[in-house]
Symmetry: C2
Amino acid sequence: MRIGIVGYGNLGRGVEFAVKQNPDVDLVAVFTRRSPETLKINSDAKVVSVNDIENWKDKIDVLILCGGSATDLPVQTPKYAKMFNVIDSFDTHAKIPEHFENVDKAAKESGKVAIISVGWDPGLFSLNRMYANAILPEGNDYTFWGKGVSQGHSDAIRRIEGVKDAKQYTIPVEKALQSVKNCENPTLSTREKHTRECFVVAEEGADKARIEKEIVTMPNYFADYDTTVHFITEEELKKNHSGIPHGGFVIRTGKTGNGTNDHVIEYSLKLDSNPEFTSSVLVAYARAAFKLYNEGQKGCKTVFDIAPAYLSPKSGEELRKTML
Amino acid sequence: MRIGIVGYGNLGRGVEFAVKQNPDVDLVAVFTRRSPETLKINSDAKVVSVNDIENWKDKIDVLILCGGSATDLPVQTPKYAKMFNVIDSFDTHAKIPEHFENVDKAAKESGKVAIISVGWDPGLFSLNRMYANAILPEGNDYTFWGKGVSQGHSDAIRRIEGVKDAKQYTIPVEKALQSVKNCENPTLSTREKHTRECFVVAEEGADKARIEKEIVTMPNYFADYDTTVHFITEEELKKNHSGIPHGGFVIRTGKTGNGTNDHVIEYSLKLDSNPEFTSSVLVAYARAAFKLYNEGQKGCKTVFDIAPAYLSPKSGEELRKTML
């Protein structure tokens, strides 16, 4: 299976690594908006200007779109679905229905397969919410995120005057998590579910008390949470906080029988690298897209529409023998 | 969707309960090998002799087979797949390929859909093994069972002379579980993964020392484990050990990138009632079988072959809006 990547940031580099772990997958081209000659990559794939992408229509089986959900993917996914089988990790939950419609129209016209919102949330977490709801119709859903780095919240801190750099961790509240796992079915406020921990490098001479106050009172981002702020040096930030870990928990608790039996279905991820893990999910679903296309399917799909076996390089017979 | 049940033990009763939690599902008949008039059930479904099952061919959309894997299902599933869409929970892992072939042949001839080995292991655990392997190709798999009641091991104890009744719990070793979750990739012996705890009611005057020795040295069942035996009264057994809880953990750890980033994918179940939970899974997959049949599909499937959305009563649009 021949893969192309559009966009060479953390996610694109992650796909490049993931391809190397999958012998049935080849990376043939990385498409970029930059001048191709300025881009150094970690494989022997071709680096190509995104303007020349149409020439690759017959040389790529699945195109993995590694841009952002805010402005890149709403344009790119429908556009490239007109020429390629495509996968994206569109993660603006509220806009998924609209994105789906746009991509579905394009992919149906071209006879290609598109799979959107692939990753872990949306993605694997969504799958687990859905399976658990179908199995335990009477119950409660809980999703906790972290411990992990929120890029959006880190950026928000960096925009404060006097802040040189910053990293923000979202952390699930252990007490809330335990209450959920104990089937106590708590109603949890935003504050009760997660705390936020910030590591901030201040400019020399900056007013740290003001910076801290601006962070903890920032509406939407921090005001509704118990937030702690640590001022550290640039060296400490680089040494101890340069990773992009993340993860979380999807839990459904529910009752069966005459209402006396409790059940807990829990799915959790603990990821050293959020983008590398997401990339690994993208590559597995690229395999699925290619198989579906070869079966004559077309249009937009999500993780809900893909039978698990399509993700695997193994045959149905092997899967039944080794994994069932 | 009209459901029929074959066999009215713990699993059959569980399906009866689960149907009540799913407004789109009706239980129309329970088929039994006993005299129908002797069987009291918990719903207003008809109780019918299994000998008359052919008369129900057009009155049932999916038949859920609730017999045992040792002798019932190898015969029943291919037999009834000739007349009905069927679901079973066949759980003899080593014989799944053979069972699949037999059922597939029958279902393809009749044009029906059969889904085998549905439940949590095989079933939901298999799904999670498969997804995790497709996403992290370089890694290690671990499955732990419990804390839960092993019916087979409890039965083995009951066959010992002087034992009136017994209940056996399989318990994951916490230290091993933690080592796995910490990405230490341990190689674990049988003894290191699980312990076994037995609650035994001895006959009056029985030699307890001999019973204990017979248990802990029993080949295959107990000899390879650290086993503890507690002698208790019949009343205590009834009061504290009459439930059928179970559960377990499926964990895959793996590396991405240049090999420095670890990831942990964990799925766990904590179930107050093993049969009621299994029944809930069976009903969700019965819904999938019916949808697939209505689309014109036929033959034998497993959980690997079923797109998640088929399990849900919600439309694709609703699922994307509420769960993705």
